[in-house]
Amino acid sequence: MKATAIEKICSKFPGIACREVLNYVEMTVQPEQLEETLSRLKLYPELNFGLLLDITGIDYLEYPVAQDCRFAVVYTIRNWRDNMLVQVKVPVPDPDKGVPTCTHLWSSANWAEREVYDQYGINFIGHPDLRRILNHWQFKGHPLRKDYDIFKGQVCYDSYSMENEIKNRLLANGVDETTMKDINTEIMFLNLGPSHPATHGAIRIFTALDGESILANVNEIGYLHRGFEKTAENRTYNQVIPLTDRLNYCSAMMNNIAYVKAVESWLGIEITERCKFMRVVMSEFFRVQDHLVCIAANLVDMGGLTNYWYLYNEKEASYDLISRLTGARLTSSFTRIGGMYRDFYDGWEHDMEVQLKAIEKGVSDSLALVLKNRIVHDRTQGTCKLSAETALSYGFTGPCLRASGVPFDLRKDNPYYNYESFDFNVPVGSTGDIYDRIMVRFEEIFESIKIIRQAMKHIPDGPIFVKDHNAVLPPKSEVYNNIEGLANHFKLIFEGVKVPSGEWYDSFEAANGELGFHFVADGSGKPYKLKVRPPCFYIMGGFHEMVEGEMIADAVINLGSINIIGGELDR
Amino acid sequence: MNPSLFSADGLVGLIFLLTIAITIAGGIIACNSERLVRAVAGLMICFIGVGALYYFLNSPFVAMMQVLIYVGAVAVTISFAIMLADPEQSSQHGPINALSGPFGFITAALLTVGLALIALKTMWGDEPKVNDGSVKIIGTQLLTDYSMVFELVSIVLLISIIGALVIAREGRKS
């Protein structure tokens, strides 16, 4: 972010403490100033912060530096057009009283605030539907509070009826008792999931149907919630990497890269050129994998099983390449802070080129089946449309946002790892229907392959690790032969990488959208707090906007088209 | 003539009896089951039995029409309508009139007596009139000898269709 942009933001808020962190602005406001600040950020035309990325709470109970209040809430907001990012931090004197909601400004705040309430027990005044979201509704306590013991498990049995929620949703859509009589039919309530072939995981999609049209829809998530953030607080920074594999498991290495990129940005480590190119190659390769999975599954939902094999055969072959490189097929854990686990093996260029050609063939074959297929057009064009404004309001990022016509891509707008020097396009849809979402992904596969080819051409030789023994394990020869190496190794293994205390947010264009990590570090080797900003959590939050008024079969293919991955949705 | 049970004619006779049993059983199920859907199933069985009886009467065309129209169309339509209603309601009894039992009995008895009288009074020919049962003869007969009946039936059908539409429109308005 340019210095002028920072000045611009600060000048709009006299009397509010603004400071620059990494390349964004962090503002600390008092609770009574919060509403005013947020609405200014959203509504001032020159500020225009239209994309609420994330809301998270912080519990300072065990933080070494004393704070005014035990709790704080942090809003991460982006202006995608001018590449400005701002974090608004507000201390919360009384969590039961809480802070005012901002659901009227951004629709994405709905689920985000529910998550903060669920995890930290911070109330949001005026929130329309404040209840738990990731944890079970019978769960007691708030797990991300520091005084919640990490080993304290709870067993909850009863499923939640969601009766009131769907009734409210029906009312919001103008369906009440009299309309029900008018349409001369009874409304049928139907659960798609949590265990249903369409959910590709475990999500509960609860619908109210008139015939086969969806009148109202509410969703319940959290079936795969495994406490990623709480677990991360108990691990050293490098030990978190295997956990990140399980976020979006379709593109595991992208999460690894996003995570270490976030840590390195705070440590100020400038990784080697070869490592940058490796990360670009691998993250684009995994973007291709992720899109292959998404499109294949989506077309299977449509009944076109043959596409699945054309695409999945190549994904399967790609896994062979990945396992030759990393030793694992799915969960690669291939990055380390300051570098990569290993360099490429000899002859990887050939394998990669063969694989890319095979992927191009598979994708072209699949496109030949669907591109001019009347049934595909009838089913996808104009169904489950989402306008750009709604998509931004719900915090959509990535292919789903681009399908709605917003050309926002962090690789172009906030480039890292030399992305500015690569020649690639950002495919953009026009209407935001299912067809656009599928086709944007198809195009991105070709663009990613283009990037990989360029990167393979220009990848330099050299080390893959930086020479920084505070962050990177020394080579084994040093460990065995001199005492400093041994000491470094010992300290890094036992204590982890010491990260200076502070708070920061860093993001990465993952296959599904903006994957962000919000850290609070206390100077030790373990993160004091780690919050993930998973792209598909917010996309799922806007699911009902897309499917209400459509048919039940459209809801199923729409769920496939937005690529919900349980691992990062529920964490 | 007393055919042995194991001759071809005997087996056919057995199948004939079976057909009658199926027809009657279907009728009983249709009248006595508590669930409407089962009643429809009984009705369907009954129709199939009647169709088979037509076949025995050397009239395969009527037999097939019986199956096509009554099983394929009427029974499907009825059960479709019933299933769209709440399945819980369909097992409940409607209001029973005290007179409905005796009244039904009397009607059935009168019908039986009437049919029996007609059957006894008719001068059955020595040889059953067997034609090839083909569509051609039926078509010719319908459009010549029985054209009046044919037209009247179509008017009845027209009236019932219009009536159904009127009722459906009323239901939608309210």
């Binding site: 009944g303 079969a553 | 859907v37 029409m65 394929g72 059960s79 299933m83």
Partner: protein
């Protein structure tokens, strides 16, 4: 009379065997065909080319317990799969496989097949309703509206053929299509009406067959992505097996009927090929049609229910009605 009836019973037994065998090996053919289309081997472990797979699958299904969900209507639940096989097997009785091989030729054979085919949707309705499952219920409703919608253009097309041939006797319909490929009803030039729209009639009839047998792209009844498995969601064991067999038996019947009405039945395409028995030609034709069924299934995605109904009511029915009138007119002219 008596002998023909016994013939029928004997034929029913043969038909059951034929249907079961066909169903079993069509599943194999379908899976191998799908594998071929999708660049994967398909079943290839049990026996040569995986040929033992179907009997083993059958054995597995028979060994399983038939679970009846609580709250289901037990009698109808058990009766529905049996009922689903009934129309297919009855229809086999009147199908002429060649000049010689026909169980019981009726002068209303075509009518008989339609009569029993129309009762097939009862089985789906009973299965869907008795399962007491919302998905099954939705599927039953879909299947029936689909069956009703596609029966109409199918019947109209069949009536066109009846007009042209002047009979509902399946053997007579085939006899009139000899001796060469140019006399088949699908080709309009040498038939008595010279109706140039006959190829379209064939396509309509074939499309309706796809829809009536609940095959992709019209497999909305069991749309596995939204309705999980549709009307047979609650069925396991041979309950499921019977529905499965019925689907394939219906495909065979549909292919037989298409062959008889449009593709010249047992007639060879050219007269000098007559030394090959008619039944070979007949089977060849129906298996080519079945292969097309399989090919279509693995090529097209599923339509939506509205798209499906629109296709029938707005496109197929008007065209087939027009074709019927045209045929009637042309028959008067020529």
């Amino acid at each position: 009379m008596s002998l023909t009836l016994l013939n029928v019973i004997f034929a029913v037994v043969v038909a059951i065997a034929f249907a079961a065998l066909n169903a079993a090996y069509l599943v194999w053919a379908e899976r191998r065909g799908a594998g071929r289309i999708q660049r994967r081997p398909g079943p290839n472990i049990n026996g040569p080319f995986g040929l033992f797979q179907p009997p083993l699958d059958g054995l597995k299904l028979m060994a399983k317990q038939l679970t009846i969900p609580g709250g289901a209507d037990k009698i109808l639940f058990v009766a529905a799969p049996v009922l689903s096989m009934f129309p297919a097997i009855m229809s086999f009785v009147t199908i002429p496989f060649s000049e010689m091989i026909v169980a019981h030729n009726m002068n209303v054979g075509l009518l008989m097949i339609f009569a029993f085919a129309s009762s097939g949707s009862m089985a789906l309705l009973f299965a869907g309703w008795s399962s007491r499952n919302k998905y099954a219920m939705m599927s039953a409703v879909r299947s029936v509206s689909q069956a009703v919608a596609y029966e109409i253009p199918m019947l109209i097309t069949a009536i066109t053929i009846v007009l042209m041939t002047g009979t509902m006797d399946l053997m007579e319909i085939v006899r009139q299509q000899g001796p060469s490929i140019l006399h088949w009803n699908i080709f309009p030039l040498l038939t008595n009406s010279h109706n140039l729209l006959m190829p379209f009639s064939f396509l309509i009839f074939f499309t309706c067959t796809l829809a009536e047998t609940n095959r992709a792209p019209f497999d909305l009844g069991e749309a596995e992505s939204e309705l999980v498995a549709g009307f047979h969601i609650e069925y396991g064991s041979m309950g499921f097996g019977l529905f499965f067999m019925a689907e394939y038996a219906n495909i065979v019947i549909g292919s037989c009927l298409t062959t008889i009405l449009f593709l010249g039945g047992w007639h060879p395409p050219l007269p000098f090929l007559g030394f090959i028995p008619g039944v070979v030609w007949f089977l060849l034709k129906i298996y080519i049609l079945i292969a097309t069924f399989i090919w279509i299934r693995w090529t097209f995605p599923r339509t939506t229910i509205y798209g499906l109904l629109n296709l029938s009511w707005k496109i197929l029915i008007p065209i087939s009605l027009f074709n019927l009138l045209l045929t009637a007119g042309l028959l008067k002219v020529f």
